[in-house]
Every structure is written in structure tokens, then in C-alpha cells.
């Protein structure tokens, strides 16, 4: 308990109280830096699995009904008889892909990595408030990941009702093969995942509120920390609702209740259910589901704010407006969930209300976009790989955001709901933005995590191939959606009307393959740099934030001697009158110097 106990005794000299064995150092570590790396590696492995799945089912969509030796080789005879993916296993792959990407990569992986790494380091704390809970959070996450992967191999296959697992499809095993054991494991895994995310989130919030070092006022926190704080609050408030929804589903599945079921006959069998409503599940699911989008997105925007300011050598423009925007987005995200349900038979008046609240979110989002632009404006930009990815994030955030304006309009959603237009929209605005920002974060903080530098050249190739394939995959999908092609369709050949889209689908698949191959470069760079990379200097990007004042080699408690004292906001880049183009937060204000973060007094 040594670290946690002394965490807020700012000046106490840290002695490592116990000898560390391999197990306590690398496996059951309570050190936030190690836990962060554990989250990262687990998240990356899950990302490779999720990406691999998308490549496999993209083969089917590009060349519909054609046989591929590789499908047979990887998936076997049951999933892909004669090398042709079977329709229900297509849905199984799509469902697993979505679940893994949203929850395991971009929630667990992204937040877990950067919240753990950055909170103590950027606010000047020895560690998280509770190292033990932090460790628990990781191991719950790990367990959830293992169960989710294991569910792929059970009889009948994994959950196949889409990542949104709407009942009755998810409630009645006879309706689709994956709704048997696979679905049960999905629910078990997600329950553990939610526990992990709650434990982690509470820890993040408590740490940020209580363990800031001397001088680290809320208005001096880096935007990464602000974003992570709001993200954690969203998670803590919304994940329990998903848990409740999942538990009720468990009851419906196993204990004969009918919360979500009514008047159902499956395969000639009348079920003894009445009075429930499938729409109730959707309300509960999306009460989490929409905030979830921002749980994915806000850390991404926090990371890109940090990286863009540092590498433009300029303060982030409108620091306060950025904070207010994050808060506004966080608040609004709780009252927009109905935009996923315009055509469920919900009262049209409610639909109107949700259109209104949803479009309101565009305002703080627009403010953020303009502020990023103005940060670049008249900067002195250094294109580290992280900077490229951060700029990519802004681009996809805007590109995917604008189609959100269309989908938020209930009248337009009637015709676009559940088409590929939606797939294009959420992949760009949430998937790509968050993935690009996650890479930005990895390239930027790799020196802090592994004490080594990553290779720039490989980073550049990785970025450009990824960025090109991001648009190559998802831009054409808008057109596929506007042609009326529904999502979650195994093939479109049953409708001659869609025949002229086959070519475009092939193009998309080619870009998906290109994107997947590009990620191998990253994996190589990542592993190579860990073992053979150049040793990192202490502050490679000439950044202001506190993490770069810690020694390169990891030590428990993060700082030798006393905790640093903070004197200024984190964005004093290129401040007139200074010798260098950056002034770390630990440098006291000069005579008459104004701290920009503390107040806009002029």
C-alpha cells in the first residue's frame, strides 16, 4: 500500500517499501504506469482481432457469395462451408467486431491506457487514489476480454444480434444460433467489463479531484485530464443502466420473465410471454449507448488537443471554451439517446424533442473544431507521427460530424436509419476519430511508457496508409447507404436494384485490406521500438506538461523527491519574452506575467 498511502503527502520522500518480484511488477502490478501498458497491449490485441474480423466479412461484401480459401482456412468448415461465409456467421462476426471495437478497444483500451498513464503524471500525483482498485479494474477488463473471445468458440457461435443486442433476437435462442450460449457469455463478459469500467472510472474521478499537486488548479489541468474526467463521469452514470438492461435480459432469457417480450411465436411455438416491450430495452441500451459514443470520443479529443498544441508550438486556442464544450457535450449526451429510436413507433413528439437536443450538440462540437483550426493557424508545426494522427482526428471528427446533422433530423432518419449511411457516419466520427487519436496518443507518449522512441519513418507510412484507407473505406459507404442498402446485410444480391453497387463494395474491401496491412507496420514499429528503439530523452517533444518532468526510467511514485509545484497553465508555447518556445508548468510566473489559464482578464 506504500504508494497510495503517501500519494498526497507531497513532500515525503518515496522509498519503495517492498521488494518486487516478477509477478508484482509485471502481472499484478499496482503501479499506474504498468497498468496503463497492460491496458494498451490488451486493447491492441483486441483491436487486431476486431480488425481481422472486419477484413474477413468485408471479403464477403466485396465478392458476394464467392469462395475464399482464406475464409475456409481461418474460419473452418462450420463457419465458412466451401470457403463461403455463412449468413448467420456473418452476423456473428459483425456483432463481435462491433462489440470488441466499441467496448474493448475504444473504451477499455483507450480510456484504460491514457487515463492510467496520464492522470497521475499530468496532475502531479504519486499514483492513482487506489492502486489496488486500479489493478482490479485491469484484471476485470482482462477477464471480460478472455470471455468475449472464448464465446467465439462455443456451440452455435458468439452473440449475433448486433452489438446493440436488441431483444427478442437476443432473448430467444431459437431466433438465431448465436443467441444461445454465445449470448450468455456476451452478457457475462459485459457485466464484468462494466464492473471494470466502474471501478476504473471512480478511481479516475477521485484521483483527479483529490490528488492534484500544489498549484494544479482545475483551470490549469491539461485538456486530456478534463476530457478523461468528464469521460469517467459519463461512464459511471451510464454503464449501470446498461448493467440493469443486461440483467433484465438475463431474467428474460433464463428465468421466464417478460420485461422485453410480448405476444411472440417462434418456429410455430407460441411463447408464454406478455406485457413486455422490446422498446424498453432500446431506451435503456441507448441511455448508455449514446454517452458511450462520447466515452469513446472525448479522450480522443483530449489527446488531440494536447498533441496539436504541443506540435503547433502554440497554446490551444480557447482553453476555457474547450472545457465548457467538453462539459456541454457531456451533459447533452445524456438527453439525446432517442435519436437511435425515431422509427421504433415512439411518439413523434418525443422524436421531435430528441432531434432538438441532438442538434444542440453540434454547437459545442463546432466550437471545438474551430478552436483546433485556430490553434494551427500561425503555428510553427512539427509533424511528428502523433501530430499527423491528431490532425487526422480533427478531419474525421468534422467529416463524420456533419453527417450527424443529417441523421439527427428525424424526418431524414426515416430513410437513412440502419443503412450504410449510418455505418459510414459512426465509423468516421467515432471509430476513425478515436482510432487515429489513440495512435496519436501512442506515438506521443510511447517515450513515457516504454522509455524508448518509436521510428518516425514507419510512423509516417503508417499514418498515410491508415488515413487514406479510413476515407477509402468509409467515404463510399455514404453512397452505398444513399442507394438504400441496409446494414447487417450478408449480401445484396437478393435485390437487383443494388447490383450497381457491387463494384463500389469491392473498392471498399480493397481499402479495408490496405488499412489492415498498414496496421502490421505499426505492430512491427511498436514491438521493434520496445526492444530496440532509441532511448528516449526526458522531454522529447519539448512539452509543458508535468509528465515530462519525471525521470525517463519508471520509478514508483513518479518523481524523485518532492512532487512538482505548478505555477501556470499547460499551454505556454511560444510565449513572447520567453527564451524558449515552451515553458513547463513548473516554471514560476515572472514578475507581472499573467497565467493565461487562470483567467481571461483582458
Amino acid at each position: 500500500m506504500g504508494v497510495a498511502a503517501t500519494a498526497n503527502e507531497g513532500n515525503a520522500h518515496i522509498h519503495i517499501p517492498h521488494k518486487e518480484g516478477f509477478l508484482t511488477k509485471y502481472v499484478f502490478s499496482q503501479d499506474h504506469k504498468m497498468i496503463s501498458k497492460q491496458f494498451l497491449v490488451t486493447g491492441l490485441v483486441m483491436a487486431l482481432v476486431g480488425m481481422g474480423m472486419s477484413t474477413l466479412f468485408r471479403l464477403q461484401l466485396g465478392w458476394q457469395g464467392e469462395s475464399f480459401a482464406i475464409l475456409k482456412w481461418i474460419l473452418g468448415d462450420v463457419w465458412a462451408p466451401d470457403g463461403i461465409l455463412s449468413p448467420d456467421k456473418y452476423l456473428a462476426l459483425v456483432t463481435m467486431h462491433g462489440t470488441i471495437m466499441v467496448f474493448f478497444v475504444l473504451t477499455g483500451g483507450l480510456s484504460g491506457t491514457f487515463a492510467n498513464l496520464l492522470i497521475p503524471l499530468q496532475i502531479g500525483a504519486r499514483d492513482m487514489a487506489s492502486g489496488f482498485m486500479n489493478m482490479l479494474s485491469y484484471w476485470f477488463f482482462f477477464l471480460a476480454s478472455v470471455i468475449m473471445i472464448a464465446s467465439i468458440f462455443v456451440e452455435g457461435g458468439p452473440a449475433s444480434a448486433g452489438w446493440t443486442i436488441y431483444p427478442p433476437l437476443s432473448a430467444i435462442p431459437e431466433t438465431i444460433p448465436g443467441s444461445g450460449t454465445g449470448m450468455t457469455l456476451w452478457l457475462v463478459s459485459m457485466t464484468i467489463f462494466i464492473a471494470s469500467s466502474l471501478i476504473g472510472g471512480l478511481n479516475y474521478i477521485v484521483t483527479i479531484i483529490n490528488l492534484r499537486t500544489k498549484g494544479m488548479k482545475m483551470t490549469r489541468m491539461p485538456l486530456t485530464i478534463w476530457a478523461i474526467l468528464v469521460t469517467a463521469i459519463l461512464g459511471v452514470l451510464s454503464f449501470p443502466v446498461l448493467l440493469a438492461a443486461a440483467l433484465l435480459l438475463v431474467f428474460d432469457r433464463s428465468f421466464g420473465t417478460s420485461f422485453y417480450l410480448s405476444d411472440i411465436m417462434v418456429q410455430g411455438q407460441l411463447l408464454d410471454v406478455s406485457g413486455g416491450s422490446p422498446v424498453l430495452f432500446q431506451h435503456l441500451f441507448w441511455f448508455l449507448g449514446h454517452p458511450e459514443v462520447y466515452i469513446v470520443l472525448l479522450p480522443a479529443l483530449g489527446i488531440s488537443s494536447e498533441v496539436i498544441a504541443t506540435n503547433s508550438r502554440k497554446p490551444i486556442f480557447g482553453y476555457r471554451a474547450m472545457i465548457v464544450s467538453i462539459l456541454a457535450i457531456g451533459f447533452l449526451s445524456f438527453i439525446v439517446w432517442g435519436h437511435h429510436m425515431f422509427i421504433t413507433g415512439m411518439n413523434p413528439f418525443l422524436g421531435a424533442v430528441f432531434t432538438f437536443t441532438t442538434l444542440l450538440i453540434a454547437i459545442p462540437s463546432a466550437v471545438k473544431a474551430f478552436n483546433y483550426l485556430t490553434t494551427l493557424y500561425k503555428g510553427r508545426i512539427i509533424f511528428t507521427p502523433a501530430m499527423l494522427f491528431a490532425i487526422g482526428t480533427v478531419s474525421t471528427f468534422v467529416t463524420g460530424g456533419v453527417t450527424g446533422i443529417i441523421l439527427a433530423d428525424s424526418a431524414l432518419d426515416i430513410n437513412l436509419h440502419d443503412t450504410y449511411f449510418v455505418v459510414a457516419h459512426f465509423h468516421i466520427v467515432m471509430g476513425m476519430s478515436a482510432v487515429l487519436a489513440m495512435f496519436a496518443g501512442i506515438y506521443h507518449w510511447f517515450p513515457k511508457m516504454y522509455c524508448k522512441m518509436m521510428n518516425n519513418k514507419l510512423g509516417y507510412v503508417h499514418f498515410w496508409l491508415t488515413f487514406i484507407s479510413a476515407f477509402g473505406v468509409f467515404l463510399p459507404q455514404h453512397f452505398i447507404g444513399l442507394a438504400g442498402i441496409p446494414r447487417r446485410y450478408y449480401e445484396n444480391t437478393a435485390f437487383p436494384m443494388f447490383d450497381d453497387m457491387l463494384e463500389l463494395n469491392q473498392l471498399v474491401t480493397w481499402f479495408a485490406i490496405l488499412g489492415a496491412v498498414a496496421q502490421l507496420l505499426f505492430v512491427f514499429n511498436f514491438l521493434f521500438s520496445i526492444f530496440k528503439g532509441q532511448r528516449a530523452p526526458q522531454n522529447p517533444w519539448k512539452s509543458n506538461t508535468l509528465e515530462w518532468t519525471t525521470p525517463v526510467e519508471h520509478i514508483h511514485g513518479n518523481w524523485h523527491g518532492a512532487l512538482p509545484t505548478v505555477h501556470r497553465w499547460p499551454y505556454d508555447y511560444s510565449k513572447p519574452g520567453a527564451d524558449e518556445d515552451f515553458i513547463p508548468q513548473t516554471v514560476p510566473l515572472a514578475e507581472g506575467e499573467v497565467d493565461e489559464g487562470a483567467g481571461y482578464g483582458h
Partner: protein, 376 residues
């Protein structure tokens, strides 16, 4: 053997990459490049690549717009979807949205990539310290707000009109045209359509009544059921007459999606949903539409290359909510035609009463049963 070769190639490739990276790194250390993370040429190249990327992105986008404009949905075939000379329709709203959205997309991305290009380190002595500007921030809070207010009001006006289930159409003589009432019944993995028949009222129905040939669970005791007409695989609509859809599901959630009419509504078990629209273009007229003709020419070309038979334009009903393994193939053909043709088609179909052998109309509804069952 082949597998072994593949593994060998992969292994050698990775090994070569490792060697290369190490040599590169060693040479870099020798040259003493450790201080500067990003060299001047690397930096300038990336700046230029942003511009190249931007041009390629826009070029690709424009290509897609031209190449695929015919492939997209034709103008809406319903009154709420498209109205000549009026902006109160879904298509008009969509077009206005698309214009605005494309402007924002292009302007912001262009600024982003252009700034990345222009303000690269190599062209700059210093960066400007510009932490905030309240007026500017206020400006770009207010501009989107005004625009959004407009979108919201415009959008919701149309939404209210579209969702009005009791839309009326006036005939030439000023009288109200009687709507056609149709139930769309979804189950894994097909659709039924049930016409209310001469009385304009659908008989009650519930999954509990499903037995034998009564596949959609219509209540035989209900006198309104007798003249109902149930069809599969194809259903017809009279042009310029309001069609009231009542939508029901037997098992899981499905969604009745009729893209050409800009119409969609979920089919939810245990619930009755509805959607009303007025079809305005007959199937034959649609087949004469130049855009549709171009689309089907292309489709038929593709089909003949693959040795598949030629097709003509048809309206369709699709399922658009994941509902099981055959979700991708759950469809019904829709034919829109003149009132006379429609009447002829409908009268050629057997009524529910006939096909179930229910001859008398004297049977009373079993009211108790009906009350207990929350009849749909």
C-alpha cells in the same frame, strides 16, 4: 509445403525489416540526429502530403458523385417525400442539408489541411501566441446556432407532417379520398400484407390465433376479418390515395423499409406501429424516369455479364432491422398503379373469409376474448 513456404517468407520478411530498422537507427545515431526529432525534409514532405491528400480526397469524392448519382435512390415516389415546387418534403430537406453539410465539410477540411501545409515549421520563424479571443469564439458559437435553429424548425415541420397518420387527400370534387388500410405483417423471414377490404376495417389479430392456414393470426370471430385480403410476395397500391400501414411482427423486431417512398417503421412484437403515405408515381411511370432507366441499363449490363436474367424497376419493401440469419433476404415487391388496375387486382384475390371457409357474416366478436387479449 506451400504453407511452410508462406511462413518462411513471412519470417524472412520480418527478419529483414528488423535488420533494416536497426541499420537505419545506427546510422542515425552516428549522424548525431538525436536532438531534432523530425528532420526538415520529413516535415516539409508531410506538409505537402496534406495538400496532395486533400486534392485526392476531393477528386475521389467528386468522381463518386458523378459516377454514382444515378445509382442512388431516385426522387421520392410519395407525397411527403417529394413535392413539385414545394420545400416541404423530405427530399427538399435532404438537399438543403446536403448543400450545407458539404460546404462545412469542404471548408473545414480545406482550412485544416491548408493550415497544416502553410504553418509548417520550415516556413516559420516563430509561432504566434494567440491563446483566445472572446469575440471570435462568440462568433462561431452563434453562427452554427442560427443555422441549427433553422434546420431544427424546418426539419420538425416536415417531421410532424410526415408522421401524421391521418393524412388527407382531396379528390378533384373536393371530397376526402378514402384511405387504403393495409397491415404489414413481419416474421422470420417473410412479409404478408393484409388489406382491410370493403369495410375499410382490419379484423383483429394476435399471434395466439395462428393455426393452420391462418398464418398471420387473424381473429375469425371478428366480422371485420371476413373481407380482409391477405397476400404474400407482392402487394399493390393505388396511386394518389393515402395508404395507412399498420405494422406488426410475430417474433423479433423487423423494420418495414420502403426506400422509394422515404418510408420506414419498425415492426415490433407485442406492439402496433403505423405509417401513412401517399404514393404519387406508378411503377410504370417510374420505369420511364430517365434516371431510373439509366440505372437499370447499367444494372442489366452487369447482370448480362454475369449471365443473370434482365430486370426491370420495381418498388420494394425490405426488412431493415437485424432479425436473424436471412435478414438480408426478406422482401416484398410493391406495385403502384391506377385505381382501376388496383381494384381489378384486389378483387381477383380471395378474402380471408373465403379461404378459411367462414361463410356467414353473422358471427359476433367475442368481446371478452378481445378485451383480454389486448387485441392488435
Amino acid at each position: 509445403m506451400i504453407t511452410f513456404l508462406i511462413y518462411a517468407v513471412i519470417f524472412l520478411g520480418v527478419a529483414a525489416l528488423v535488420r533494416l530498422a536497426m541499420v537505419y537507427q545506427a546510422s542515425k545515431e552516428l549522424r548525431g540526429e538525436r536532438e531534432e526529432n523530425v528532420s526538415a525534409s520529413e516535415n516539409s514532405w508531410n506538409a505537402i502530403l496534406f495538400i496532395v491528400f486533400m486534392i485526392a480526397l476531393y477528386a475521389g469524392y467528386i468522381y463518386l458523385i458523378f459516377e454514382y448519382s444515378d445509382a442512388l435512390l431516385p426522387k421520392a415516389a410519395s407525397a411527403h417525400g417529394f413535392k413539385e415546387g414545394s420545400i416541404y418534403s423530405i427530399d427538399a430537406l435532404m438537399n438543403i442539408n446536403l448543400v450545407v453539410v458539404n460546404i462545412v465539410f469542404v471548408v473545414i477540411n480545406t482550412l485544416l489541411f491548408f493550415f497544416a501545409f502553410k504553418y509548417v515549421r520550415e516556413k516559420r520563424e516563430t509561432a504566434e501566441f494567440f491563446p483566445h479571443n472572446n469575440k471570435l469564439e462568440l462568433f462561431w458559437t452563434i453562427i452554427p446556432s442560427i443555422f441549427l435553429a433553422f434546420i431544427i424548425i424546418f426539419g420538425l415541420t416536415i417531421w410532424n407532417n410526415v408522421m401524421d397518420a391521418d393524412k388527407e387527400v382531396l379528390a378533384a370534387d373536393g371530397s376526402v379520398v378514402e384511405p387504403v388500410v393495409i397491415e404489414l405483417y413481419a416474421r422470420q423471414f417473410d412479409w404478408h400484407a393484409r388489406y382491410a377490404g370493403a369495410d375499410g376495417e382490419l379484423g383483429m389479430a394476435n399471434v395466439r390465433y395462428i393455426e393452420g392456414s391462418n398464418q398471420t393470426g387473424v381473429m375469425k370471430n371478428d366480422p371485420n376479418s371476413l373481407d380482409d385480403i391477405i397476400v404474400k410476395s407482392e402487394f399493390h397500391l393505388p396511386v394518389n390515395v393515402p395508404v395507412k400501414f399498420k405494422i406488426r411482427s410475430q417474433d423479433v423486431i423487423h423494420s418495414a423499409y420502403m426506400p422509394h417512398f422515404r418510408a420506414q417503421m419498425n415492426a415490433v412484437p407485442g406492439m402496433n406501429t403505423q405509417f401513412t403515405f401517399v404514393p404519387t408515381i406508378t411503377t410504370n411511370e417510374m420505369r420511364q424516369d430517365p434516371k431510373v432507366m439509366r440505372k437499370y441499363e447499367k444494372i442489366n449490363l452487369i447482370r448480362s455479364e454475369k449471365g443473370e436474367d434482365q430486370v426491370e424497376f420495381d418498388y420494394i419493401l425490405l426488412c431493415n432491422k437485424i432479425c436473424g440469419a436471412s435478414h438480408y433476404n426478406m422482401q416484398m415487391k410493391i406495385v403502384v398503379e391506377s385505381q382501376e388496375d388496383f381494384d381489378k387486382w384486389l378483387s381477383s384475390k380471395k378474402t380471408f373469409g373465403d379461404s378459411e371457409g367462414l361463410t356467414t357474416k353473422s358471427k359476433k366478436v367475442d368481446n371478452k376474448l378481445a378485451e383480454n387479449l389486448e387485441i392488435n
